[in-house]
Symmetry: C2
Subunit: 213 residues, 2 copies
């Protein structure tokens, strides 16, 4: 069955962004040329320019794609019946299962954002939206009694996101880093901080933080 | 009073490394030339090459300087009479008070380490040494009863360092990020995890995590 044209176009955009990501990660944003990306994506310059006229447009495309993915994940967190199970599952998907190329390209975006106000604004907008969604999800979980109500949620979320950023950073720089193990400890610690005092007894007995050394 | 020659040389090395850091942060490691660094340091190419023959040597010099600083800080942590007070003070100094240029240049080193095995090894060696020192400090604190003995310290330290990396990352990308506030919450959370159960009652009542929203 032939797919409609818009679907073909969306697939092609996705393939180009994946090819550009591989190039940026391998060679760096600045040393990658549009020709390199054409070769990686197996297409002509004319074809590529119809989709993305510049490297900046490609970075914007990658940021937009990842923002959509993050927003969908955080939306499902807000709709989940059990906040902490969903929080752990979504965090695992975004931080641990996510391919290293997708994380590596964010290191390039962040490096570049220090020199390009446009890229800095793309990053900031994505971060802002995600933090707002997380505040909403935490407020709803607090209203259901799953999360303490006496916390500064903005600060909690900045800390959670800092931990997530740090896990990604370590995955990039240290091939021996056991991200899944650190993730398990960090999520236990965050849950212990967020849960109302009475529910602490319900903490997972298999919690990594509690495993003897 | 005239300083001895070796002191003059050490000062000059420090000035060159600071000038190189500013260039790398402003323009990126690859787009910075040795000429740019000469201009920033106010010296001739001949003078610069006597100290550092290449950009790679400059990166190595920056990594070595920062490793020495980190090691001295972690040494003082191990010798402090009160682990948590010293942990907080040293963390504050290394993550919050540290100038953004010194942190930004590490983003360049990390970005570059993905493409240069030599730079990756410099980073890994620095990280390994610091983790070993932290394990020692935690073991000593545990033997004094300040820290639980039933924890996997390697994993705890990987998590602490992930949080530190994440704080640095956010300081780089978000000028509005309140690093001191997130640092206070993170150190409270880490102390709550590390302290033996009986000493939890002694937690700082002014703890940021406990401040109502």
């Amino acid at each position: 069955m032939r797919r409609p044209d818009f679907q073909l176009q969306a697939d092609r955009r996705g393939e180009i962004l994946a090819a550009a990501s591989r190039c940026f990660v391998r060679t760096g944003f600045h040393r990658t040329s549009m020709q390199d990306i054409c070769a990686e994506a197996g297409m002509s310059p004319g074809g590529l320019y119809r989709y993305f006229p510049s490297k900046e447009a490609l970075i914007a495309g990658i940021a937009e794609r990842d923002r959509a993915q993050l927003q969908a994940a955080l939306q499902s967190l807000d709709q989940a019946p059990d906040f902490f199970s969903a929080f752990r599952a979504i965090g695992y998907q975004l931080l641990i299962e996510r391919p290293i190329e997708e994380i590596g390209v964010w290191a390039e975006i962040i490096s570049e954002s220090r020199r390009s106000p446009q890229i800095a604004e793309l990053y900031a907008a994505c971060d802002r939206t995600c933090r707002e969604q997380m505040v909403t999800a935490l407020r709803h979980a607090a209203s259901r009694g799953e999360v303490r109500t006496d916390l500064d949620f903005e600060n909690v979320i900045q800390m959670m996101f800092s931990i997530g950023d740090g896990l990604c950073w370590r995955r990039i720089v240290d091939p021996t880093f056991d991200a899944a193990r650190v993730f398990a400890m960090a999520t236990d610690m965050i849950r212990n901080m967020l849960q109302p005092a009475g529910s602490l007894a319900g903490a997972d007995p298999a919690s990594v933080a509690m495993v003897p050394a």
